[in-house]
């Protein structure tokens, strides 16, 4: 198997997460390999966002083990955790831009906090990141409340990329975008992944994204990972939910 030789960036083993007496993630396993774009799909409320938030440490887990960059997060010291958090970038579903900072300040925020670089370099990097996500420098001094939905996502992506992370987590990056905007965004993610060598962990419902950008797809249902593999494996599967998802009416239109 070729993929066994690839470096595992994130390894989730036997992960259980629950709220109250409901178990959302039921002893789940998942690997993310370096340099790939992994799409995580599943029905609404199946725990995709919970899985992502657990991996990045926003939700506590009941049991299981999460290794990131080959290190168990439970055994990490505070400092190591902080160092690791610089190595990933996160795009939240609604952008989560700091509403009282301008676009430029939003992108510069992690740079300013973590790197001891000059004001000039900060400005240049902010402008460069903005251009890389396809926005012109004119939006720099705008506030998030003055931006459209698609622009917010792009700025949020630029902020996620501010420190040149190795892994980016994207929570429904194309939701709420028009098909053209969503297509552009997919293209952007693909380009950035290629040029920066990113590993992308993407929660998505967008069948077009799954078709065009994802190297591998992981399917979450009933708290377990029912299948992980390329699109061809998804289409070949006889699992009823997968059939409905990838071979339903909308899926045929997306593929056709």
């Amino acid at each position: 198997m070729a993929k066994d030789t690839k470096e595992v960036v994130i390894r989730v083993r036997d992960l259980a997460v629950g709220f109250g007496d409901k178990l959302v993630l039921d002893h789940l396993d998942l690997e993310v390999y370096r340099g790939e774009i992994l799409g995580l799909v599943g029905g609404s409320g199946s725990g995709k966002s919970v899985l992502m938030r657990t991996i990045i440490g926003l939700l506590p887990k009941r049991s299981g083990k999460i290794d990131i960059f080959g290190v168990d997060v439970d055994t990490m010291s505070e400092e190591d955790l902080l160092m690791m958090e610089r190595r990933w970038g996160i795009l939240f579903q609604h952008g989560a831009l700091f509403s009282s900072l301008t676009v430029r300040q939003n992108i510069q925020f992690p740079i300013r906090e973590f790197l001891d670089v000059s004001e000039q370099l900060q400005d240049e990097m902010a402008a460069a990141k903005l251009e890389m996500v396809g926005l012109s420098a004119d939006v720099q001094e705008k506030f998030p409340s003055e931006l459209s939905g698609g622009m917010i996502k792009r700025v949020a992506l630029a902020r996620a990329l501010a420190l040149d992370p190795e892994v980016v987590f994207l929570d429904e990056p194309t939701s709420g975008l028009d098909p053209i905007g969503a297509g552009d965004f997919d293209e952007l993610i693909k380009t950035l992944q290629r040029t920066l060598g990113l590993t992308v962990f993407m929660v998505t419902h967008d069948l077009d994204s799954l078709h065009t950008v994802c190297d591998r797809i992981a399917v979450l249902a009933d708290g377990k990972m029912i299948l992980a593999g390329p699109m061809s494996a998804m289409l070949a599967s006889e699992h009823p939910w997968l059939k409905a998802y990838f071979r339903g009416k909308r899926a045929r239109m997306a593929a056709g």
């Binding site: 700091f98 402008a127 001094e141 420190l163 040149d164 040029t195 920066l196």
Partner: protein, 378 residues
């Protein structure tokens, strides 16, 4: 990680060879930037520059940009610059970075301090005028909504009103009782301490009675309510505004003033007089307790003296003010809440403004009432 990042230079006739080595990444950017700057500033008489990046182990956008900046600096001076030894992995990145920041950054205009200062004063004044208009407008809107509710009583939101009375009135009772009790006690202690010098201890009772019932009871309660409930109203309405809940209501054919604001303001108008009454009683109780324990004034003496000192009018003056103050607090909270715009900062600024303006207006109004009651002989 991966050792330090370095940039060394070597002259080779008219050709300058800069050798970049190590990890040219974000975490090394603070070391690399001075190196790049030093090279860019050096004025060596060269015709061509080669930037050899074969020794670069890792490269990210920070490193790529610094290399690009170096190359652009030399190019701008008419010296031909090449990037050599580029590993294939990083070709895409270098190309990508080569295309950015071509336009000069938009200049951030800096006004001179005097003009900026004047502008601020102007804006503040204009804003004061605007807030005054908005307050008047809100009084009108609330009155219309109230009139509509009287005409169609079925449309009135009784449940909402009761819930808000529970929150601003009932839940506020303990803290209001505690604070007014303490104020009454402190007033009595200070009064006794100073009046004793003239042998006028007993007049402390007059002072507490009149001061608490006429002025302090209602003022303390209103200030507490403005801080406790006015701010909460502004924050609630503001975040509803931010999440477009107010717009949603409007599109469904509901008047936000009728649904959100009227019940809140009415709850204040109902609760504040009750809280004022309770607060005044607690202050008198606190005052009486201190008079007895600290001043040696027997409770019976305190009560009979109080009965002589105050009249129904004294009590009425305080109570008449309460609902009007409540109305002002509610109106200001609603105006500021509806003025909240997109950002978290705006929410904070308007909540602050709500409390500051309502306390200011409550005190100004209290002064006007004092003049009014004095002139009608109450």
């Amino acid at each position: 990680m991966n050792g330090a990042a370095t940039l060394t230079s070597k002259r080779d006739g008219e050709r300058l060879v800069l050798t970049a080595e190590g990890a040219w990444t974000a975490i090394h950017a603070h070391e690399l930037e001075p190196l790049v700057e030093a090279q860019a500033r050096s004025s060596q008489p060269v015709r061509a520059v080669d930037i050899d990046v074969a020794g670069v182990k890792r490269l990210d956008t920070f490193g790529a940009w610094l290399i690009e900046r170096l190359a652009r600096g030399w190019n701008a001076r008419g010296i031909e610059t090449r990037v050599v030894g580029l590993p294939d992995d990083y070709r895409g990145l270098i190309q990508e970075i080569h295309g950015v920041n071509l336009k000069p950054p938009p200049s951030r205009p800096r006004e001179n301090a005097l003009i900026e200062g004047l502008e601020r004063i102007g804006r503040t004044l204009a804003n004061m005028g605007r807030v005054t208009m908005l307050i008047l407008q809100m009084i009108g809107a609330v009155t219309t909504a109230a009139a509509r509710s009287i005409m169609h009583p079925a449309r009135f939101r009784l449940t909402s009103l009761v819930a808000h009375i529970d929150r601003v009135g009932w839940n506020g009772v303990p803290i209001i009782l505690l604070i007014t009790f303490l104020i009454g006690a402190i007033l009595a202690q200070q009064g006794i301490f100073h009046f004793r010098k003239f042998g006028a201890d007993i007049y402390v009772v007059d002072m507490i009675g009149i001061l608490v019932l006429r002025e302090l009871g209602v003022l303390i309660v209103c200030i507490m309510v403005a801080g406790r409930s006015g701010s909460a109203y502004t924050a609630e309405l503001g975040s509803m505004k931010m999440r477009e809940e107010v717009d949603a209501l409007r599109t469904m054919g509901f008047d936000p003033v009728e649904v959100l604001i009227l019940p809140r303001i009415l709850a204040l108008v109902v609760s504040v007089p009750m809280l004022t009454f309770l607060g005044s009683m607690a202050a008198l109780y606190g005052g009486g307790l201190v008079c007895w324990l600290y001043g040696g004034i027997d409770p019976n003496v305190f009560l009979s003296r109080l009965r002589e000192a105050i009249s129904m009018e004294t009590f009425a003056v305080g109570m008449i003010k309460a609902p009007i103050m409540a109305l002002i607090i509610g109106i200001v909270a609603a105006v500021e809440g509806m003025e909240v715009r997109g950002s978290a900062e705006s929410l904070g600024a308007h909540t602050t403004a709500s409390v500051v303006i309502s306390i200011f207006l409550v005190i100004v109004l209290d002064g006007l009432f004092a003049i009014f009651f004095a002139s009608i002989g109450m």
